[in-house]
Symmetry: C2
Subunit: 308 residues, 2 copies
């Protein structure tokens, strides 16, 4: 039967002021997934990594996405999937979205690309629902579309691709656990109108900065007066990392997704690497294990690297 | 002494979802102001219209702006200003901003353009403070810069010009009084986070639509789930006008500033005029006097039409 191999990238959701509506795709890290079509209506999952994720289809993020596609087409076929994850689950850079989006894009390829990208986002959100309890698209959309995605609205789904300058992204993943559900629960349900006004000025500024290639404006707009002050307390060293990274020349940044990863945008690779050094210094001093990545914005999203 | 004549246009602030951060300038109506420099440190105001606005400089919007400029330069000069307003005070299309911005631009012209546009916004906001008690820039900025303005932040002031498609604007001013201070007071100080998220998706969508010339996206993003549901109850016929204007082909629209004017954006003049007919029908039926305007976005802002 037909097989395909895809690379499914990590993503940064929220983008500081853009809580729940903005996300961008990373060049690295990415998961590698090999999908084979079966002539029986079943899903077989084979893990090729050390994360021991569930292999029962209904409990696996990629599995539920494949099941939802099989249910939609209802043609008696199935899939066998091998997954080698490089994006650590719980890191805050879209590990579950990479599994979900990668499975959706791979299956669509084997099916002759019968679904639109918007359809694939809908299928993939079933994986996010399993992972975090919420159907959100701010990792899924950039993972599938590439670049920077605006999720203007989730019901009905309205995804808008935002062009952006060639920015470098530095990510540090401090090896602590921040559960997405906890990170959601500590948010206040009500916020001050004056804070919301400041936030929407920044969101409009950030989007304008991306579209007009205005790096200063991007930097000025990377401010979050609503979510970050609450969530950053879950991330040791956050304030120090942020302050020192900006001193090292980063345009700005903040919590990636719901954390614990922290990302910074920089205009060139030299600054992005200086920012990485700052991140390493802070977490070495605090005594928390960490990974870092210096990468760029991935304009393609999930990539089919080998298909038949 | 030197004199200058300026045309200072009406403006639409808020732009539905962009409460306090977005505004656009109108081609019409505009106020006509003639400013003459005096060699004595005084401000003389002569009204050339029927609105009976105060002529004491400290109580007149243009007057306080001129006084603030005189205080800044401290050179013993003064100004005589003749004002013929065409923008009705209290209409919600930036009447006070036109007086304030027009006076600032005219004075700057006579002084040899020593101040930047950002400086002029600062001076002109003194007029808004007098008119409404709040230093806001969402009428002042588009009035001075022209086009669509984003006020990303008010402290420190950060104004960003947003390019936009050639849209038509239809405005109806139902002749009822909505005081800006009342319109502010009825707003809730706290809002739901989920509503704020929906709003910032729309703001990002609206700005993206302007910058990418995407009329459909502009239309989809002209939705306000926070301010309009509260303020529109002050404007008789609002829901009917809005629904019928969109049925007539308008991209969308809403309350102009804090009302009572209602504006609609359309992609061409024929639709803009059909929208005007709808507005006329609704307010004729309700029995409220009204003015309407069919105009375009003014890309220049305050214009010096005659200067020495």
């Amino acid at each position: 039967m037909k097989t395909v191999i895809v690379h499914s990238p990590g993503t940064v959701a929220n983008l500081v002021c853009g809580f729940d509506i903005l996300g961008l795709a990373l060049k690295e890290p990415y998961d590698i997934m090999k999908l084979r079509m079966l002539d029986t209506p079943e899903v077989i999952i084979r893990n090729r990594d050390e994360f021991n994720l569930p292999t029962e289809p209904h409990k696996n993020v990629a599995g539920v996405v494949l099941l939802s596609i099989m249910e939609k087409i209802n043609e008696g076929i199935g899939f066998e999937i091998e997954i080698k994850k490089h994006i650590k689950p719980g890191s805050g850079i879209g590990s579950s979205a990479a599994s979900a989006a990668g499975a959706a894009v791979a299956a669509n390829h084997l099916l002759g690309n019968i679904f639109s990208n918007d359809d694939l986002v809908q299928f993939a959100m079933n994986g996010e629902k399993l992972a975090s309890g919420v159907k959100h698209a701010d990792n899924i959309a950039p993972c599938i579309f590439g670049g920077v995605s605006l999720i203007r609205c989730i019901h009905p789904l309205d995804i808008v691709s935002i062009s952006s300058p060639e920015l470098f992204v530095t990510v540090v993943h401090p090896q602590i656990e921040v559960r997405t559900s906890d990170a959601r629960q500590i948010l206040r349900q009500q916020i001050l109108l004056k804070d919301a006004i400041r936030q929407w000025g920044n969101i409009a500024g950030l989007v304008t900065g991306f579209l007009k290639n205005d790096l200063d404006l991007i930097g000025r707009s990377l401010e979050d007066v609503i979510i970050e002050p609450v969530r950053s307390i879950l991330i040791p060293g956050f304030d120090e990392v942020k302050t020192k990274c900006k001193e090292a020349g980063a345009l700005g940044g903040g919590i990636s997704g719901s954390g614990p990863s922290v990302f910074m945008l920089s205009k060139d690779e030299a600054i992005a690497k200086a920012v990485e050094s700052v991140m390493k210094d802070v977490y070495t001093k605090i005594g928390i294990d960490f990974n870092t990545y210096v990468t760029t914005i991935n304009k393609k999203g999930v990539e089919v690297v080998k298909g038949e």
